[in-house]
């Protein structure tokens, strides 16, 4: 289903909208004015939305019937009767966000404002696609059992460790896009849509984490921010004019593909400075006796991870400090180029490698400050993210909320009261063979999970 398709089909020949379409448009507008905090009383809706009193009263009555706003609270009186506050019912339904990393999975439950209410993270090996999809389903089930009233589930938003080349005109996904080798045949989107009877979105974790940092982390209120994630892959996200930059096809910030040179070797930034290089050089140091700390870790556990190298560096192991400083210098060189080009207010470093030690941050800072124009670095802050993978969950939830209430998509479901009754979605479910749903029938609510469960 494409954005704009329905709106175009509903236009009349003379270019003027039919009255029902105008009513839907004002209904959508009123809801978004309230939801985004642009108007909080009837008077503000009349002023900001430029609607008459009768229109506002009618639209609010409809939205109250749909359970999307209420007027139960009163504001502060300014010389007369205290005004009734119009509030968005963010608890009308829930959103689930999921973050997949190379070695971890996280799930979170959010309200319709995108605020995280609960989250859980655990280690996972995502090379087994089937087991990963099953685990995501089990964790979502667990999250829903923790809800006393089992509210409707309006969407699942997934953050994945790779660029997602999806059609920018798509309101929700019906098929798993290609984000890592062979994952397009994993059935991730199809399984979640079928199992939870709800809308699914997928975005890259650089995009979701940038969004999360902007809404809940160091980037709150900033107009420009560069977000750099350092893990097995190294990627960047950009905030410009207070909004995430998406590029032409969503493939923004693939800086891990840039060639860099260290001593006599040239390779991509991913290969020369990412987690795999850190692990490999740590293994060399352990076996050559260069790092007694890693030698001990290897002897006890039989293997080493990049995180072991980071923690050893943090404890003062000389060889590990040098490995991370090398990584930091290479990343810092690329980030300095971006900083000189974009002049951000803030650079945030995130990812498991950046967050388990201070050496990488120090090395990147030193390189960026040394290689940048003084005007660029005068007020520039370079910080380590405090959000870890919560940034991805929060960002994914924010993206889901924006997608649900995007005016074009909202017009297609608001009259039905819930996005899961959107005709295109209902038909998609039927096409998936997930149920005996027929177009026009009321789809079943999300699975109600008993308090005693398996």
């Amino acid at each position: 289903m494409k954005k704009g398709q329905s709106a175009t089909n509903r236009s009349t020949g003379n270019g003027r909208p039919r009255s029902s379409e105008a009513a839907t448009a004002s209904l959508v507008d009123v809801l978004n004015l309230v939801r985004l905090g642009h108007a909080g009383t009837r008077q503000e809706l009349e002023r900001v939305g430029e609607y008459g009193r009768a229109i506002v009263a009618d639209r609010l009555a409809t939205l109250k019937d749909l359970g999307l706003v209420d007027e139960n609270a009163t504001g502060v009186a300014t010389g007369g009767r205290a005004p009734r506050l119009v509030q968005f019912m963010k608890d009308r339904a829930r959103l689930v966000s999921v973050t997949l990393d190379q070695s971890a999975v996280g799930v979170g439950l959010a309200d319709l404002s995108g605020k995280l209410l609960s989250e859980h993270h655990e280690m996972i090996d995502i090379s087994d696609q089937s087991a990963t999809v099953d685990r995501i389903c089990a964790l979502i089930n667990w999250l829903l059992t923790r809800q006393l009233d089992a509210p409707d589930l309006w969407g699942i938003s997934i953050s994945v460790p790779g660029p997602v080349l999806a059609n920018p005109g798509t309101s929700f996904l019906l098929k798993t896009p290609d984000f890592l080798p062979n994952w397009d045949s994993s059935g991730l989107v199809e399984t979640l849509t079928d199992r939870f009877q709800t809308l699914v979105w997928i975005h890259s974790n650089v995009e979701t984490m940038t969004m999360g940092e902007l809404h809940g982390g160091a980037g709150i209120g900033l107009q420009s921010m560069l977000f750099v994630k350092v893990g097995q892959r190294i990627g960047a996200g950009l905030v410009s004019d207070g909004h995430p930059y998406h590029g032409a096809a969503g493939a923004v910030g693939l800086i891990g593909q840039l060639p860099v040179t260290y001593r006599d070797s040239t390779g991509t930034l991913d290969a020369m400075a990412g987690a795999e290089m850190i692990r490999a050089r740590g293994l060399e140091a352990a076996k050559s006796g260069g790092s007694p700390h890693l030698d001990d870790t290897l002897a006890r556990g039989g293997d080493l991870t990049a995180i072991d190298v980071c923690q050893a560096a943090q404890m003062g192991d000389g060889a590990c400090v040098e490995i991370l400083m090398q990584s930091g210098r290479l990343i810092g060189g690329v980030v300095a180029t971006l900083a000189n080009m974009l002049n951000p207010q803030l650079i945030v470093l995130a990812g498991s490698i950046a967050q388990t030690n201070d050496i990488l941050l120090a090395s990147i800072r030193e390189t960026v400050y040394g290689a940048s124009h003084p005007l660029v670095t005068r007020d520039l802050r370079i910080l380590r993210s405090q959000m870890s993978n919560s940034a991805a969950l929060l960002g994914a939830a924010s993206i889901a909320a924006e997608a649900l209430f995007d005016p074009i998509f909202l017009k297609e479901w608001i009259g039905l009261g819930t996005p899961t009754r959107n005709p295109d979605f209902v038909q998609s479910l039927a096409a998936l063979g997930s149920s005996s749903l027929q177009s026009g029938e009321t789809p079943p609510p999300p699975p109600k999970i008993s308090r005693t469960t398996t």
Binding site: T99, D101, A104, G106, K115, L116, L117, S118, E119, H120, H121, E122, M123, R135, A138, L139, W142, T145, R146, G216, G217, G301, I307, Q311, Q314, M315, S352, Q355, T356, D358, Q386, M387, S388, N389, S390, R451, T452, T453, T454
Partner: protein, 336 residues
């Protein structure tokens, strides 16, 4: 043992060695004349008492005065009142175990906003971030504890059985992790076993939830209770129903440890090290107060305790010799 769980934001664990205090650190802390307050969810468990001992003892070595130890009795209202009162006392740091994930969040954030270092134990209210809203979280590897409990119970379950999981009906990081890990471990290692979950809303409710579960699912052949205090009521209920079910739980509390030693219903315990955790909490707090980089999440591994190692684990956790009842229960001493 390695840490297998992740932190509340997906952080990798840092070992307690990351907050080791050198003699010069202790001297610097002593010179500051620090004042610390401790806000606990309860002081009515053996785990809490040992943890407080660890914190207070290590604070003493650093010359820090513990000005108050508050028992919130699992009440968010009591915790909010305590935090507000303590903020007025202007201590250098508050160490707190948040009793839930939502209602107490703002008052914990207010502690940090007042310029008081906040170190959390076992739970982080959703939305609070390390470095910004609190200095660090110190906990055991709760995910690891759930896995240990599942493995200890698994040996006692017949093929194709059901097992009961008695969880806590509050959104709380530590018990959530235990619950999820127990279920996942059973699913992976005993796919023939079905896990039945029920949750108690208060300690008094644990026995009743057990009775209901066993009535609904008579095929339940074993139980896991997410910590030892409610487990005591669960053991009592199972006994009243004249059933013989193997039980595992978390924490080496006196009663469940005696039950394990005597060959009772408790067949295994996933043990925490509250005294060592208390020391790690104190060291983390001092590290933060000295302005040194502090890990986001300091985690300690758990212990797998069975009848065969219960005495040594008891000594390690309780820092004293095992009582006569436990030694008699294991035939190390003769009764009488």
């Amino acid at each position: 043992m390695t840490i297998i769980g992740l932190g509340p934001h997906g952080e990798r664990a840092s070992p307690p060695e990351r907050v080791t205090l050198l003699p010069q650190d202790i001297a610097a802390a002593r010179a500051k004349g620090l004042r610390i307050a401790l806000v606990m969810h309860t002081l009515e468990s053996d785990w809490s008492r040992h943890l407080v001992q660890g914190v207070v003892g290590m604070m003493g070595e650093c010359g820090a005065i513990v000005i108050d130890v508050v028992d919130c009795n699992f009440s968010p209202e009591a915790q909010i009142a305590a935090l507000r009162r303590l903020c007025d006392e202007k201590p250098d740091a508050i160490v707190s175990l948040p009793v839930d994930n939502t209602t107490v969040a703002q008052d914990h954030i207010a502690v940090s906003n007042a310029g008081i270092k906040l170190v959390l134990i076992d739970n982080v209210p959703t939305g609070m971030l390390p470095g910004k809203d609190y200095a660090a979280l110190v906990s055991v590897d709760n995910y690891g504890l759930g896995k240990i409990a599942a493995e200890l119970l698994s040996d006692h379950l017949p093929a194709n059985a059901s097992t009961g999981l008695l969880g806590y009906d509050a959104d709380f990081f530590a018990v959530n992790e235990r619950e999820i890990a127990f279920s996942q471990s059973m699913e992976r290692n005993r796919p023939d076993v079905t896990v039945r979950t029920a949750r108690f809303s208060s300690l008094d409710d644990a026995g009743e939830q057990t009775r209901r579960m066993l009535a609904d699912y008579p095929d339940v052949a074993g139980l896991f209770v997410v910590w030892d205090t409610p487990c005591i009521d669960v053991i009592r209920m199972v006994s009243e129903l004249k059933l013989t079910l193997p039980i595992t739980t978390v924490d080496l509390g006196q009663e469940v440890t005696e039950n394990l030693a005597k060959g009772g219903a408790v067949v295994g315990i996933a043990g925490q090290r509250p005294f060592q955790q208390g020391e790690a909490i104190a060291k983390t707090t001092i590290t933060a107060l000295l302005g040194r980089p502090c890990p986001d999440w300091v985690a300690l591994p758990g212990l797998a305790v069975t009848r065969s190692n219960v005495i040594e684990c008891y000594q390690s956790v309780w820092r004293k010799h095992a009582p006569r009842e436990i030694l008699v229960g294991l035939d190390v001493l003769r009764p009488g």
